[in-house]
């Protein structure tokens, strides 16, 4: 890739690579042209070159002190490869167990990242919702109450788990060989699963208390809006941060609470709402790498 020299713009971003000699020839020529006309960038380059010299000096020092690799390491590595081949492992096809292990490791890491209070507070909120639901006489109202609570905890828990302030970066980015989008997706999956289980448990209790509706009908009162609100919260969290996400989702939630029958009619599990949730989720995942 070649890039024209732009005398108005400093070459700061490329000088480290230029000093390391790790830059494509066309780009190197553009940087060299800029350097001829820019004393500030020449001074900065001198700093990078000194840094490079220090790094190489340290490496030479370490190389002298370091014994050469032990040939037994190669023998042991080959013995391990032979053992794996004997067990049916083939290059390029990671064993299913290894993939499953990686997935579990990824999910376990997400549990550590999600703020600790999210799990008990979500469960407590659903418990409180069930107490309210038990006090109302009609199954529809009880289900709506429970659904509103599930939607609120979905939005808020995503808000505080997916923003830049929840990111233990670069620790997590370092500890797992997975791209940041997959990390976000797995975290959202974990939160959605947990909240869905809570919501289904609550819905089952509402059905058993009132007996008039099916589990499917009661769950339909909240499942679609819950996914859409959670996905919206994810978008707001990755773009503007946790507080904006929590405020935005709670504002929308309040619109549903006080918005009357028109808003209530839109607050359903149907194709457009689920489609909305899917689009928002894709936006959040697409935006995620910019967080780092």
């Amino acid at each position: 890739m070649s890039r024209r020299a732009d005398p108005a713009r400093h070459a700061s971003g490329d000088l480290a690579a230029y000093a390391a000699g790790a830059i494509p020839p066309g780009q190197a020529a553009a940087v060299a042209a800029h350097l001829r006309a820019c004393p500030a960038c020449r001074a900065e380059l001198a700093g990078w070159r000194a840094l490079a010299a220090g790094a190489r000096a340290l490496d030479r020092e370490a190389s002298v002190a370091m014994p050469p690799p032990d040939p037994a390491t190669l023998r042991r590595a080959w013995a391990e490869i032979e053992r794996r081949r004997a067990c049916g492992w083939r290059p390029g096809r990671p064993a299913a167990a290894r993939m499953l292990g990686l997935l579990l490791q990824l999910l376990r890491a997400q549990i550590r990242v999600v703020p600790r209070g999210v799990w008990p507070l979500s469960a407590a909120a659903v418990g409180a919702g069930l107490l309210l639901a038990a006090a109302v006489p009609r199954a529809g109202v009880a289900g709506t109450l429970l659904g509103l609570i599930v939607c609120a905890i979905g939005g808020v828990s995503v808000a505080f788990s997916c923003g830049p302030d929840a990111e233990p970066c670069p620790d997590l980015a370092h500890s797992l060989p997975v791209p940041p989008r997959l990390v976000l997706l797995s975290r959202l999956g974990l939160l959605f699963c947990f909240d869905t289980l809570l919501g289904l448990g609550g819905s089952a209790v509402v059905v058993s208390l009132h007996g008039a509706s099916s589990l499917w009908t009661v769950s339909g009162l909240w499942f679609g809006p819950f996914l859409a609100l959670g996905a919206l919260s994810a978008v707001l969290a990755v773009v503007w941060g946790s507080v904006a996400a929590a405020s935005g989702t709670l504002a929308l939630w309040a619109v549903r609470l006080f918005g009357g029958p028109v808003v209530a009619a839109l607050w359903r599990t149907n194709g457009p709402v689920l489609g909305c949730a899917a689009v928002l989720l894709m936006v959040a995942v697409a935006w995620r790498p910019r967080l780092a």
């Binding site: 890739m1 400093h10 700061s12 971003g13 480290a16 690579a17 390391a20 000699g21 790790a22 830059i23 494509p24 020839p25 780009q27 500030a40 001074a43 900065e44 380059l45 001198a46 700093g47 990078w48 070159r49 000194a50 840094l51 490079a52 010299a53 220090g54 790094a55 190489r56 000096a57 340290l58 490496d59 020092e61 370490a62 190389s63 370091m66 014994p67 050469p68 690799p69 032990d70 390491t73 190669l74 042991r76 590595a77 080959w78 391990e80 490869i81 794996r84 081949r85 492992w89 290059p91 390029g92 990671p94 970066c169 670069p170 620790d171 980015a173 370092h174 500890s175 791209p179 780092a292």
Partner: protein, 198 residues
Amino acid sequence: MSDAVLRGLAGVDGGAVDADIALARRLAAGDRAAMEEVYARHARALLGYIRHRTSDPGLAEEVLQETLVAAWQGAARFGGRSSLRTWLIGIARRQALQAVRRRRLPLADGAGPEGRATPDTEPESVMLAAADREELAAAMRGLSPLHREVIVLTFVYGLSYPELTRCLGVPLGTVKSRLSNAKRAMRAALAGRGGERG
């Protein structure tokens, strides 16, 4: 985007990459001579890199062994988007992190939040340029592992920006800001050493 285009973007030499791809194919096919060639050409550099991440020589050899096994396991997927050495360093990095975590040793620290790369200030560059190599090497030893790693990968192993983004698993902006922050940390370390001497 095709591998050839990506190679062009990374400034990778096509002939050398083709040789690397051929070596990786032989390795994937279970050719022991290919593994010996990989070992002869890259083991020392890999061990040097691993030793930047752990000071335990036994653990470093163990990580090297796991890197060679993982390289065989993943060799079929090597597409030449970077040099074979860069690809192996990426594997060694992951294996080192896993080994350190298994042994519950401290992970590379975060070294503070990583903001956008900011324009360099001249005194910083002047201070670095004025320091002698011993001072610079001593200041390097005092850097956080995260900062030392990006400097070592850039200036010792010569990884390009696209290779650094793949190896470190972070976007280009983070690579650049990490380098800038490392440079700033070097300046602070040099200033501290100057203060100690004074």
